[in-house]
Symmetry: C2
Subunit: 502 residues, 2 copies
């Protein structure tokens, strides 16, 4: 990327940079996805102030020519008309054809997070993954070999849409030990618990229908609701979980198709809904005949004592649909989840699923079934709990060591995440660039809100990285926070060749 | 199931049977899904005419208390109100809450087919599966072991939504050898090719939008279009494939969002669209700016000579979206497919996919990538072609040996299926029961039509079963056909205790 600055020009330097980069994008020299150098490096290369480059990038973002991505900083978002061959643009005006809900303007945050999994140059505190080095790979390999031995090529073939029957039986027994009584026909094996969200919304939600979610909420529910063109109403989460008093006011005015909640060690906030709130939620939902979708991927990962009973375990009227996954701790990449709910619902979801992807991975289902049946699951969980508790404590200490005034968080009792409120002086977009620059990735809190919050939050994962990486990563993150404070700009002393542009 | 017949009653015997079974269902004694004995066996047990039982079952089906399923014959479809506990029926009136497109009244035919995979008592000519005994399981196990060795636990983690990058590179090279030029960002790895249908329709189709499909068409596209509440217009297939003259009349009146075609060894008809028709289709679609979704799972399985070039290979305007799978011949149960299309479309589909299931199986993608990269794919395909050609010829001979007048089929040059038109005298519902009775499963042709056809068709698969099973299965099938002919009823000689009821 060649940029020549004319220090004698009347055109401000930041404007010269904007014009040159725009030219390179529109001519196709910088293709879609091309990563621009971090602001600091470009500034050094050009011998200009960092804030000058920051302003230039910001302007190009406003023009829609650049994108800021989690963990990658800033990259080119080339308009289709620019530099596109016939093959690229096509005879078909695709953007005119897309459904409103499937707009290409969807927030790509989940996709961006997953792209990080192929990056080696970043400490990722962003993705919600288990610790790779703790995964029971040798054991899974042994089970795989014995499945090959016993069942032969059948393991590669199709299986029923609702799931491999022995696994469904195993799941009902597993659920029973968690206080959830259900029969095999009340279960559905999913291609990842994300699919449970999608199927539920597809079964119930017409455009304009109201769906209630927590604020903040799981980042992956939002694209599903946008695709369905749902009207999303939010209920704030405090230290006791979803605020049932706010829910009550919503239910007084609306009849939602669904209440979506993640009551135990919530993603992203780490909050555990109190028992009182759980009962209030159930009572409110029952009185208004609104189904509850309970997403419960983390209750097994409780580091101090035991988790509270699930909503489903407390449910006496059959209104709670339970969604979980065991593969989060075993093999998230194999995409397995499951649901438990009333039969008319499960039947309808299965009929949808036949058109969506036929069924979940046969091999994965058999592996999971045998892993649990052979008694490996509980001992493995114990190992995880010990290791993750240590990582959580490491992250807590590292955050404390930073001593940044205005940075606030609560140490969670379980789950995968710290949820931090940042000092008011932090600029969100600048933090993203700074973090990419220092080589650390986090999930921007905005992604967990249906509408951008006033405060700045970040979600930091402590399960994936080693304690050493966590220490290092938090150090980098805190350094980025310091640099991204509005006040820090006054510390930049030198201006080269032109007046300050900001 | 206890049924007592009173031969001295004035109530006709068939009516006594209806009343008793209804009572058993409504009381909850026969639960949802309970399989009723085949008509023949119940008739023998009760000492009554088979047609009496047939009539009773038919009446119960009309009442919605029984269902006829592929490969299982007849089972109980208990109404939710009947025999349901509070847990079953729930406080939530689920059926009132479902979207119109997600109705529980969807045709469960794909789900029913997949359920067959756990049945051992039926010769399945129904499911489109590869021959289990030919699957390269030892080779795949070796590759799996070396992946574990090389990449470690990473193989169990997430991967990018668009797919594991090395696999996408491999796929572009594979596509290039099939005359399809595309770059990595123009590819998308899917959780099975079924997902490609679902994502395309979700991206493009609003309720009421027109989609053109072939008649007959792939059974799995229909639930997708029903869920989307699309208006489905059909174009008949003749020996040269989709009738472009009929398509032209449709395009004169409508502007479809999509033309869906399976031009090479079509599922179910086995027909290969001629080169002339391919060019006509491309020309028509280009003139009207309608995208074509080309589904091409079978062109690799050509048993005589080479397949014609794909529509995508002939496409000069970028209007064809190519959908295929290599896992159909390797491991259908691991759910892998892929698409190649213009970047704006692929980007939008990836944004949808992030909410649908995050990404396709990481392990499966790595297995497939290595299998192709290491050069195993082509030799394996050769083995399959030889074996499947033999099975195809076996099925052709067995059908010929039956000498049933009015039974018509064409031996296909490739793919997985024979498509048979049955004699006009055959009763469809009776054939299903007869086939279940003799222990053979086929796909009823009706399932491949958006609206029930006048003639009766069946799809018979020749890839899954061994040549011996094919011989045996076709014999059973032909016997069922003979029994299901309307004329055959006159051959039943004895009537017991009451007048004939039909």
């Amino acid at each position: 990327m060649q940029i020549v600055i004319d220090r004698h020009s009347k055109v401000p330097i930041y404007r010269q940079i904007v014009d040159r980069i725009r030219e390179l994008i529109v001519s196709g020299t910088l293709p879609e996805g091309f990563r621009l150098p971090p602001e600091r490096r470009l500034a050094e290369a050009l011998g200009v102030n960092r804030s000058t480059v920051l302003t230039a990038y910001r302007e190009l973002k406003a023009e829609g020519l650049l994108h800021a991505h989690v963990g990658r900083g800033t990259s080119v978002h080339a308009p289709v008309q620019a530099g596109g061959s016939v093959r690229d643009s096509g005879a078909i005006p695709w953007k005119q054809l897309f459904r409103e809900g499937a707009s290409h303007r969807q927030d790509p945050v989940v996709r961006d997070l997953l792209e990080l999994t192929e990056r080696r140059d970043v400490i990722s505190l962003a993705v919600g993954l288990p610790a790779p080095e703790l995964l029971p790979l040798p054991l899974l390999t042994t089970i795989f070999d014995s499945l090959v031995e016993e069942a032969g090529p059948e393991i590669l073939l199709h299986c029923p849409t609702e799931g491999h029957t022995p696994l469904r039986e195993t799941l009902t027994r597993w659920l029973a030990t968690r206080g959830i009584a259900c029969t095999v026909p009340e279960t559905l094996v999913l291609s990842g618990s994300q699919q449970g969200l999608d199927l539920m919304v597809r079964a119930l939600v017409d455009p304009g229908d109201v769906v209630v979610v927590e604020e903040p909420t799981y980042v992956g529910i939002l694209p599903v609701l946008r695709t369905a063109q749902a009207r999303v109403l939010t209920v704030p989460v405090d230290h006791d979980g979803m605020r049932t008093d706010v829910l009550e006011t919503i239910l007084a005015r609306h009849r939602p198709k669904l209440i979506y909640t993640l009551p135990t060690f919530q993603n992203p906030s780490g909050v555990e809904m109190s028992l009182t709130r759980r009962r209030e939620l159930l009572e409110l939902a029952a009185r208004n005949q609104v189904p509850i979708l309970e997403d419960d991927p983390y209750s097994e990962l409780c580091y101090d004592g035991s988790p509270l009973p699930s909503l489903k375990a407390l449910d006496t009227t059959g209104q709670v649909v339970y969604l979980s996954t065991l593969s989060k701790v075993l093999f998230p990449g194999m995409r397995l989840g499951f649901m438990a709910g009333p039969r008319p619902l499960i039947r309808t979801l299965a009929l949808l699923k036949q058109g969506v992807d036929l069924h979940a991975s046969s091999v994965g289902q058999r592996l999971l079934d045998r892993f649990i049946r052979d008694g490996h699951y509980e001992p493995y969980l114990k190992t995880l709990r010990t290791a993750y508790a240590e990582r959580r404590d490491t992250m807590d200490r590292a955050l404390n060591a930073g001593s940044i005034p205005g940075l606030a968080w609560t140490k969670p009792r379980g789950g995968f995440y710290f949820w931090c409120r940042l000092p008011k002086e932090v600029e969100r977009s600048r933090l993203l660039a700074e973090a990419a620059d220092t080589g650390v990735a986090y999930l921007p809190g905005d992604a967990c809100f249906a509408e951008p919050p006033a405060d700045t939050f970040v979600r930091l994962n402590f399960s994936y990285s080693s304690p050493e990486q966590i220490g290092d990563g938090i150090e980098r993150f805190l350094e980025s926070v310091r640099r991204a404070m509005r006040t820090s700009r006054t510390q930049i002393p030198h201006q080269i060749g032109t007046k300050p542009v900001v």
